[in-house]
Symmetry: C2
Subunit: 159 residues, 2 copies
């Protein structure tokens, strides 16, 4: 089994533009969706569109609340099969709600709460990684984020 180096994994967790998130649906089936994400601190962060959905909360958010254990897959398809690779994270997902983050400025002389600091760092990382957010309004206002921390990494690349 050919695993990727730790450096290669780290770089792709920083740079790769897309992952596929698998969660468990209420009926016990697996559910998948492609996501964008950025690394900040020890977590990967993915934004949820803040607009109200006709069906209520997005399935991935509902699923994660009930079953926080998820899978994240990064991979590249290439017609040259000697260039194939994937990285799979067994991760725990957390829904980070905008309502927890007030709009009031942090009082002078008071340390920024670590939760807010992590949230702001995540937004910064997402805006920095994806220039698309300059024109896509998703990250304006107070978006909901999913935060993923992982316990296990598996990787593979073609020999």
């Amino acid at each position: 089994v050919a695993e990727l180096s730790e450096a290669a994994i780290r770089q792709r967790l920083d740079d790769w533009p897309v992952a596929r998130l698998a969660t468990i649906a209420p009926d016990g089936r697996p559910h998948q969706v492609p996501i964008v994400f950025a690394r900040a601190g020890a977590a990967l962060w993915s934004p949820i569109d803040g607009k109200a959905k006709s069906g209520g909360e997005l399935a991935r958010v509902r699923n994660v609340r009930a079953h926080p254990e998820v899978s994240l897959l990064l991979d590249a398809y290439d017609e040259d099969w000697t260039r194939l690779w994937w990285i799979r994270l067994d991760a725990t997902a957390r829904v980070v709600q905008p309502s927890r983050h007030g709009r009031a400025p942090t009082p002078v002389g008071q340390a920024t709460p670590s939760g807010d600091a992590a949230f702001e760092a995540a937004l910064l990382a997402l805006r920095s990684k994806y220039p698309q957010y300059r024109t896509v309004p998703l990250l304006e206002g107070q978006p909901t984020l999913l935060a993923f921390t992982w316990s296990h990494v598996r990787s593979w690349h073609a020999a």
Copy 2:
């Protein structure tokens, strides 16, 4: 919600080169892996490397035997977010074993059993879709295949 047309879905199920398969692992977590696949008849077919693995059967095969309900995701990432799309199939997976398919030629005048015919059509579809199999020996001999039929299709594309 912008869904893809039936024609667009059909074409991508025929032509798109990669899908992500999510299964349920024995511990209840979701598990993902990128797969190649080809459509033949009413199913999508994906080959399993026939070589013995040090860890026994591949996780996806073990998982599917215990939990046949899976998710298949086709999607394209593009830096131009107006070009994003995905197709998600709620599918049932079946492990089709080479041992069921004898090497003896079909007796003259006897109809090919439908199971064998479907298996051969699947191999043909895989070889036709992926010229890589001319040099990758995976489909030589009697490979194990996963056959996916689906009950529900969801799709989305950026407006």
